[in-house]
Amino acid sequence: MSKDIRIKKGLNINLVGAAEKTLSKAVNSNVYALNLDDFHGITPKMLVKQGAEVKAGEPLFFNKSNEKMLFVSPVSGELVEIVRGARRRILTLKILADKSQEYAEHGVLDLSSADDQVVRDFLLKSGAWPFIKQRPYDIIANPESTPKAIFISAYATAPLAADADFALQGKEAELQAAITALGKLTPGKIHVSVGKSSNSPLANLDGITLHKVSGPHPSGLVGTQINKIDPINKGEVVWTISPQDLVIIGELLLTGKFNAERVIALAGSVVKSPKYYTTKIGAEISTFLYAAGVNQEKFRLINGDVLTGGKTHPEGYLGFYNNTVSVIPEGDDYEFFGWNKPVFNKISSTRALTFSWMQPNKKYDLDTNTNGEHRAFVVTGRYEEVFPLDIYPLQLLKACMVKDLDEMELLGLYEVAPEDFSLTEFICTSKQPHQQIIREGLDLLYQEIG
């Protein structure tokens, strides 16, 4: 039995350059890297020294506040460089890959007999734990917490995001193994959401509660689904995990090998032939970017989708959690009377001489221009139109800005992650950095209350 979730509030941002559904194999990268910024709030403690040989799946470092939580190498090779930033903070770990890959043996887990603790230990030591994120705080799940439910969204509504149905096809066995294992970690349900008319390999798995989602973005965001299915209360913990990471966990459980392979979408108006690639976590982006071709010099390369991803460059590396790489034009140019003339080629949430409301299905070629300057909050009532959660977005943002902990809690900061505010940020008339405000609010709350 599936339950339908219909989202009415929201906005679909249709961009030029969606990935065509053909899969190519990206060439192997020489160097793979883990970007430590991907693991928010984790202080790493190195387990191996620069120059050490590691196998794929062999631990590189652990979490300083929980030494059982290991982070492993995506490939086998030599740890050639530990890039450090200010105050010797580790930024990036670079591994020069071997020609033939060797995998560390984690052993196959017998899922029929394994209990909660065994599964936890297995995921922690094999490096799969960091795939599991928790709310509140939108951080890697605390291994000692018991989630009231686990949420998985296999419905991608963000602009240009990889289509989960396509990327996951043929992976039923891995997905089922991962779901079975995760089922042991929670006394609650595993909620899986798929698109209403989708053909998802996740839909027929055992041990899940299936939800069919329809409506505009952000209906595909897991935060929206949590709020509609089983909202988080103060003191509760839910876990979230993206389906592409279930595949890695599943394969690990079935074979004992940490195979960092993943299907990603390379998309955006700058890409000549946007399509899907099979590659590995940490692969150099140039290994597939130039194979697909770019049609201009000045572009913004994004690890992830255009609303939530991180800025990177062709020599950068595929992020730990990303299954989309987006490339859009940079918009660092002036526009004559850009603020008052009629606009046909950009998206707007109003009709103030902007005409995107006339063609809701038109595809736009948006660039990175902010289309205006940063201002104090002025306009009201606009965020609510694209924010389906039962939360007052403007009030919550203001509570975060003034660091009012009580108000942040009362208004529901526990329930959200920065990505839930990506759409309000997109339409913000005052160009306020919503996601950053929420991130800082969450960090403050975590630090003060834990």
């Binding site: 660092d332 002036y334 707007s348 009709r351 300057e373 002025v378």
Partner: protein, 417 residues
């Protein structure tokens, strides 16, 4: 080197300097900036504050132009008598009317913008932030809500007061509690009460001619009614289309209605506030009509004239329609939650008509009602938001919270065993 490139170089030269905000204000007026996203999402919608404010100004321009024609029309009609068989093209849209209106009203616009923007620039430079767009709308609203013959020095003082005390002391656009345009209007009213009311200020030239053989007068309908009269010579269509004396831009309910529809269509102003304010004023009007009908108020009462005024006609006279469409919908000083907007708007309409009827000194209550509700808007929002908090609390009460740490589960179990 084109203008674009030249300005770019100048911007780089001024960067970090004290005068940068002043230059940037002019630069971003000509060209939308080359800023790109650097945190969070990488794309942004095209809407910004300049476009938002510009849309409101566009909705105000018809009122301004109409105000110019009407200033001339009222002036010449007061001297020569109102034309019989009035025709819009012949008697209203004439070069004479427009010329007289333009030379009396444009100075108001120029002083309003000149003084206000100068103060905005000075504050931006002192505080080192960009010049914000809020005053673009305020500067346009102010000349439209004052009597046509308001002396320019008075207006200048009022604007300076309104911008500094009404807005800048709170931190500029987006931070103010009271609507700056109405603060300016209130200042004028309370500082120069004899100027701002009576029957001499609504028609150009009336003040100068007072006491001479050429004396003219033009009373607003409300002023006339407030003296206990209940019949007046204006037809319903005069009132609706705005061929009546009043503040510069407030007379044409028809154009205000069009402006309101435009603002609702463009999603710039809140339809909730507009609709509920209309409902609120109708409700209060109906109550007063009911009181008159029930015979609770004698005909010689000084409130009789306004109380017996047909309830829906309140929307056609005075500044009610203008206030509802352009002032009550100010997002900064209004209610910020959707539910709050219904309450806020309703009370504005309700109070406006109430003050209009009961105010002994001055038969208009819109600006006072809006300012009053500006003060109460945060309170309204507070209770609306508490509703959401309460819902969350209730959910929490019914939830069974799992213990945070797995170890505790076992401890709990052992305790219960």
């Amino acid at each position: 080197m084109g203008l674009k490139e030249k300005l770019h170089q100048t911007k780089l030269k001024y960067q970090g300097k004290k005068m940068a905000p002043a230059f940037n204000a002019i630069h971003t007026f000509l060209y939308s900036p080359n800023e790109t996203t650097h945190s969070g999402g990488h794309i942004r919608s095209v809407d910004d504050l300049k476009r938002t404010m510009n849309t409101v100004i566009m909705a105000l321009v018809p009122c301004l132009l109409f105000g110019m024609f009407n200033a001339g029309y009222q002036h010449y009609s007061a001297i020569n008598g109102f034309p019989e068989n009035f025709s819009v093209m012949e008697h209203f849209i004439t070069w004479d009317n427009f010329w007289l209106g333009a030379i009396t009203i444009l100075p108001l616009v120029i002083v309003s913008y000149g003084v206000g923007l100068a103060i905005e620039f000075v504050f931006a430079v002192i505080k080192g932030h960009e010049v914000e767009e809020g005053y673009l709308v305020t500067g346009m609203l102010v000349p439209l809500i004052v009597p046509v013959d308001t002396p320019l020095w008075m207006l200048a003082i009022a604007v300076a007061f309104g911008v500094v005390i009404g807005k800048e002391v709170f931190g500029g656009t987006g931070m103010n509690i009271l609507n700056p345009a109405l603060t300016i209007r209130a200042f004028l009213f309370f500082a120069y009460p004899t100027w701002m009311s009576g029957d001499k200020v609504w028609v150009h030239g009336a003040v100068e001619r007072a006491g001479t053989a050429d004396a003219i007068s033009g009373e607003t309908i409300l002023g006339y009614l407030a003296q206990g009269n209940s019949d007046f010579s204006y037809s319903l269509s005069d009132m609706f289309f705005g061929f009546i004396p009043g503040s510069v831009g407030e007379t044409s309910t028809f154009l205000i209605l069009l402006g309101g529809l435009f603002l609702v269509f463009t999603k710039i102003a809140s339809w909730r506030i507009m609709l509920s304010a209309v409902l609120g004023s109708l409700a209060m009007g109906l109550i007063f009509n009911g009181v008159v009908e029930a015979g609770w108020i004698p005909e010689y009462s000084k409130f009789y004239g306004l109380m017996s005024f047909e309830y829906w006609q309140h929307l056609l006279v005075g500044g009610l329609a203008f206030g509802i469409v352009y002032m009550a919908t100010d997002p900064v000083t209004g209610s910020q939650t959707n539910k709050g907007k219904w309450i806020y708007g309703f009370l504005i309409g309700f109070m406006s008509v109430m003050i209009r009827v009961f105010n002994p000194g001055y038969p208009e209550g819109v600006f006072l009602a809006i300012l009053l509700l500006n003060v109460f808007a945060p309170t309204i929002d507070h209770y609306v938001v508490r509703g959401n908090v309460k819902r969350r609390m209730k959910r929490l009460k019914n939830a069974t919270i799992l213990p945070k740490v797995t170890g505790e589960v076992e401890e709990l179990k052992t305790e219960t065993v």
